[in-house]
């Protein structure tokens, strides 16, 4: 940088009565570039060090990447032409994947609603209810879907059921936090008016809170479904059903044409779902 840097103030305090700063001085003082604080410098050094450490620990190197490029090209080259004989299998498994994602999302959201109500301050003002629920939700939310899938595969065996359970549990805790925040921003006037008619809290949830917030909840649910289809395509890697299982197998058999077909099917489905859900969400909100 070529900018002038403000000098540190003279340590010796001036004896003469300080003159009131003129407007000109004041403008120039404010216009000068400030020297970055020691905290900023330390932070920048820290970020650079972190990047250095993480790239060495993963063996990241420019030359290796350049050396590898022909192999990448070779790999992509062998994926063409896609093996169309694989198409029926891929489509059938994509339906299974969608099934896992949709069933898991629906049941996950149904589980998330009671959790999110307990975690919303304006519904349950008692701090111990809200705080306990929030802690539980945050702890389980930190577990990735693939780990849930590994757990459920060992619990209920290989297959789509384990995958559905994994998506369901992952969604339940992830969405619970989201819905709790949605509920906390609700306009409570109609809620208070319903309370003043003598309606129970459960009735106020069913008649006031949910009708008010349903469009926002539906919109987020579609977004979550998007993510869950992508997650469900990977679950097969740990044997929890869906198209990922087939992908893994074809990769091991070096059937790159079939791999390409599978990737294309996933691509088409995920992209069209993305378009559909963003269209529907626009109409909701």
């Amino acid at each position: 940088m070529t900018a002038t840097i403000e000098k540190a103030p003279d340590p010796a305090p001036e004896k003469a009565p300080r003159q009131a700063p003129t407007r000109r001085d004041e403008i120039e003082r404010l216009a000068r570039l400030r020297r970055p604080s020691w905290g900023t410098i330390a932070g920048a050094v820290g970020v650079v060090a972190l990047l250095g450490w993480s790239s060495t620990s993963t063996g990241f190197s420019g030359p290796a990447l350049v050396d590898g490029l022909p192999h990448v090209a070779d790999f992509v080259g062998r994926m063409f032409p896609p093996n169309l004989e694989e198409l029926p299998v891929a489509i059938e498994l994509m339906f299974e994947t969608l099934g896992i994602a949709i069933t898991g999302t629906v049941f996950g959201v149904l589980l998330a609603i009671p959790l999110s109500l307990l975690a919303a301050r304006n519904i349950f003002p008692q701090p111990w209810i809200r705080d306990t629920t929030r802690v539980v939700v945050n702890v389980f939310r930190a577990i990735p879907e693939l780990m849930w899938a590994l757990l459920f595969v060992s619990a209920v065996g290989l297959g789509a059921f384990a995958g559905t359970l994994a998506i369901m549990v992952g969604t339940a805790f992830g969405v619970a936090r989201l819905f709790a925040d949605i509920f906390e921003t609700a306009d409570m006037r109609a809620w208070d008016a319903a309370a003043a008619t003598g309606a129970r809290k459960s009735q106020r949830i069913a008649w006031v809170l949910l009708p008010q917030q349903l469009p926002t909840m539906a919109s987020y649910t579609l977004l979550v479904l998007d993510g869950n289809v992508r997650a469900a395509s990977l679950l097969g890697l740990v044997g929890a059903g869906g198209i990922g299982m087939e992908l893994n197998q074809q990769l091991r058999l070096f059937e790159y044409g079939s791999v390409m077909t599978i990737v294309l099917v996933v691509l088409v489905v995920v992209m069209s779902l993305d378009l559909l859900s963003s269209y529907v969400r626009k109409r909701f909100v």
């Binding site: 003043a196 008619t197 003598g198 309606a199 129970r200 459960s202 069913a206 008649w207 009708p211």
Partner: protein
């Protein structure tokens, strides 16, 4: 017989603002009383105390000889159910249908389980539709509440309050958000329904001519105190001029009250 009785009600907000000072008002069965006064006079606070939404710092409010502050749980809910409320800003569920908004008034006595899936008895639904028809919204029953005009929304809120089959109807500035022509129509509807149902009503109003038009008695309030409490025929222009004198000062008080609320 006294339906609503406030005895020496004092109310202080947590920040120390004194909104009500020793307010005593009694309302007889079948009476329609208007509470009048400049903004900041404490009308809304008094409404909240009457409705059991706030508990007086000192003094007591009794509705049909029951002090709401002393009740809990089911008894408290059923006591609330006997008081119908109408708010300045309607407080409806905008995305729900007009009918569903009115049915909210029937929840307290509905089946606690089946009502959760919006399954209400034929009797409750008939009552709701009948009330809506009587306030001129027979055509709007299935429409969304937020598709209605302000005057229509306040009529939905009125129908919700009446569907509780209350003994007492309290309204806090029910027409302050409406233009004068609509306001007169809505106030007339409120009073007509109150008469038809044989209810007792307390209406907080800002507008003197509306109060004179519908009330049998006017309670004048200023700076948290009752200035006069007279049959409408005895409320002279001089009294009203005094009530609203130096409204600038009162407006400052209103600001304080708003900050406190």
């Amino acid at each position: 017989m006294t339906v609503l009785e406030a005895a020496d009600v004092t109310f202080r907000y947590p920040d120390g603002t004194q909104a009500l000072t020793e307010v005593s008002v009694g309302v007889q069965r079948g009476e329609i009383v208007a509470v009048l006064g400049p903004s900041g006079a404490g009308k809304s606070t008094l409404f909240k105390c009457f409705a059991g939404l706030e508990r007086p710092t000192a003094g007591v409010v009794r509705v049909e000889d029951v002090d709401l502050a002393g009740l809990r749980g089911r008894e408290r809910r059923l006591a609330h159910h006997r008081i119908g409320l109408v708010f300045q800003e309607f407080h409806l569920v905008g995305r729900a249908s007009v009918l569903s908004n009115v049915l909210v008034g029937r929840l307290a006595t509905a089946n606690p389980v089946t009502s959760l899936v919006h399954w209400m008895s034929r009797r409750d639904r008939t009552l709701a539709v009948e009330l809506l028809t009587r306030v001129g919204l027979g055509e709007q029953v299935r429409k969304r509440a937020d598709s209605l005009s302000g005057g229509q929304r306040q009529r939905v809120a009125l129908a919700r309050a009446l569907s509780q089959r209350p003994e007492l109807l309290l309204a806090d500035e029910p027409v302050a958000n409406l233009d004068p022509v609509l306001a007169t129509g809505v106030i007339d509807d409120i009073v007509r329904m109150v008469r038809e149902e044989g209810l007792t009503a307390v209406l907080n109003l800002h507008d003197v001519s509306l109060a004179r038009r519908v009330a049998q008695r006017i309670v004048g309030m200023r700076e948290g105190r009752v200035v006069f409490d007279l049959p409408v025929g005895e409320v002279t222009d001089a009294l009203l001029a005094d009530l609203y004198a130096n409204e600038g000062l009162a407006a400052q008080a209103a600001e304080r009250e708003e900050v406190a609320a």
